[in-house]
C-alpha cells in the first residue's frame, strides 16, 4: 500500500517539477498546485496507512483495542491544505494582476524590476 502511494507521489512530484520549470506563469502555478497535493499525499503516507480501523473505543475499555488509523497526519494535511489553498488563491490573483500590468505571462520577459542594460555605477567623478 505504501509502495503504491510512493510511486504515485513520485509521479506527482515529477509533473510538478516539470511544470514549475516552465517560463509561463500559468504553468508554474499549476505546478505549485500539484506540488501542494504531492506533499499532502507524502505526509499522509509518512504517517503509515491503516485501513478500516476506526478509532472507536469500546465502552468497557479505556484505550483502543488495536492500532487505529493515525490521526496526526490528517491534522497536518488539513493545515497544509488550508495554507496551500489560500496561497494558491493569492498567487492566481497576483499572476493575473502582473499579466494586466506587465502584459506578459513569460517569466523571462518580466524585467521591470530588474531592467536589462541597467546603468553601471559611476566609476569616478
Amino acid at each position: 500500500m505504501e509502495a503504491t502511494f510512493s510511486i504515485l507521489i513520485g509521479l506527482f512530484f515529477a509533473v510538478s517539477v516539470y511544470l514549475v520549470m516552465s517560463r509561463q506563469i500559468v504553468r508554474i502555478l499549476l505546478g505549485i498546485g500539484i506540488l501542494g497535493n504531492a506533499v499532502n499525499l507524502l505526509i499522509f503516507t509518512s504517517g503509515r496507512l491503516t485501513r478500516e480501523v476506526p478509532p472507536v473505543i469500546p465502552p468497557e475499555a479505556v484505550t483502543p483495542l488495536e492500532a487505529t488509523a493515525n490521526p496526526l497526519p490528517q491534522a497536518l494535511i488539513l493545515t497544509a491544505i488550508v495554507i496551500s489553498f489560500s496561497f494558491f488563491a493569492f498567487l492566481l490573483v497576483l499572476a493575473f494582476r502582473a499579466y494586466q500590468e506587465l502584459g506578459t505571462d513569460d517569466a523571462n520577459e518580466m524585467r521591470v524590476a530588474e531592467p536589462v542594460g541597467d546603468a553601471a555605477p559611476p566609476q569616478g567623478y
Partner: protein, 526 residues
Amino acid sequence: MATPATGVDLARAIVIDPTLPADWLVVAPSILTILGGAICLMARKNTEAQPRVAILFLTLLVLACGGLFVHVLDKGVVNMVMGRWLPPFGIAFTADITGAALALTASIVALAAGIYGAVDIDTSGRRYGFYPFLLLLMTGVCGAFLTGDIFNLYVWFEVLLISSFGMLVLGNEKEQLDGAVKYAVLNIIATTLFLISTGLLYGLFGTLNMADIAIKTRESGLTGPLASIAVLYLLAFGMKAAAFPVNFWLPASYHTPRIVVSAVFAGLLTKVGVYALLRIFILLMPQARIALTDVIALVAIATMITGIFGALAQTDIRRLFGYLVISGIGSMLAGLAIGTTAAVAGTIFYAIHSVIVMTALYMAAGIMHSMGGSYSLRKLGGLYGASPAFAAVFLVLAFGVAGLPPFSGFWPKVILVDAALATGHGWLAGTILLTGLLTSIAVGRVWVFAFWRGGAEGTVDGGAVALPAADPVLTRAAVWLPLGVLLTLVVLLGVLPEPFFQISGRGASGLVDPLGYVRAVFGGSL
C-alpha cells in the same frame, strides 16, 4: 482535576500543574501581535488610529519579548505546551536564549519600522493594510523564533510569508508586481520543500517535537534517510535565507516596495531562515551538519562572494543594500559550516547585528531619497552639504555593515574568523575578510557619491549645490527617532560587546548541547 471514573491517570497525559504566570510570556508575543493585527484590521478605514494602535502593540511586543528574554536568561529554557498535553504530543513553545534574543531584536526593529511607517506609508497604504500586515508578520517571526515544534515552525513561516506578500504589493505598481511574482513563487516552493522534509522526518521518527527529534537523531546516528532529509532542509532554508544559488528572489524584489517594507524584510526575513538552519543543523541533526560541512562552507563562500560582487555592480542603493543582505547571510552560514560553539555564537551575534544594521541602512536610504530625490548613485550628490549630521550617521552604519571597529559588525566577524582559523577553515576566514574589504568599498562608494560629491553626475567639483526641495515630511521626528535608536544599538554592539558575547555564547552552547533544552521540555523524566 478529578480523575474520571475510568481510572485513567491524567498525569500521564497532561500537565497537571497550572502554568506559571511568567511562562505565559512564551506565547505573549504571538498573542499580542495577532490581537493588534486584528484591531488594526477592524480599524482599516481609520487611518489616523491605525499607527497609534500598531505602535502601542509593538511597544507591548518589545516589552513582552524583553521580559521573556530576561526570564530565559534567569531561569534557562522556558517551555509551555498547548492544551497542556505532555510533550511530545502537545505543540510546544520552547524559548531558549537564541530564540528569545532574536525575538527581542526583531521586536525592536519592528517597533522602529512601525514608527518610521507612520511617515513613510501614506493613507492608501494604511488603508490597504500596512499595519495589520506588519503586526501579523511579527506574529510569524516571533512564533518561528519561539516554537518548539517543527510543524508549528512551518505554520509560522507561512504566516510571515503571506503577510510579507501583502506588504510587498502594497502600492500595486508594475515593479512591485514583477518583484512579487518572483518572490512569491520561489518562497512558496521553499516552504513546500520545508514541508516535504518535515513530512519525511515525521515518517522517520514519528514525532514533531524538536526536543524529541534531537534525542532520536542522536540515538539513531546518521542514516541514509536522515541525510536526505538534512539535504532537503538545507535547500529549503537556504532558499529562505537567500543562500547562493537559490537567492535570486531577493535582488528581484527587495528594492520594489515602500522603503520601510524593504527595511523590515532586509532585517527580519532572511534571518528567520538562518535561525531555522541553526535549529535544524546544530540542535536537531548535528551528525548531518558534520557530513555536510564542506557543502555548507562552499555555499557560504559563494554566497559571500556573489553577494558582494552584486553589491559592487549596483547603481540603485536599495538593490546594493539587498546584495549586502546576501553577503551577510554568507558570513552567518560560515559559522554554521564551522559548527563549533564559538562559531555558532558568531552566527547568532552576526544575525543580531545584521537585523539592526540592514534595517537602519534601508531607513537611511529612504531619507537619502527624500533629500536627494533619487535612489540612483548617478543622480544623488551633495547630501553632505545638505546635512553633515546625516552624513555622519550614514558613515557609522556603513562602517557597521562593513565590519570596521568600533561598530557592530566588527565583533561577530572577529569571532567567526577566529573560529574558522582555529578549526582549519582558512578559506572561510579569508573570504570573510575579503568580503569585509569589498563591503567597505561598496558602502564607501555610496558615501563618496551620494554625500561627498558636490551634486548629481556632471556637477563640477566644488560647484553649486542645488538639491531638490527636501520632502518636508521626512524632517519629522518619526523618521529620525527609529533610525536614532537603531544607530545607538549599532554603536552599543560595537563599543560594549561583552554582554552580547555572553548572550550569543550561552545561546550557542544551548544549541550545541541540547541537554538543557530537552530537560526543559520533558521535565525531570530524562
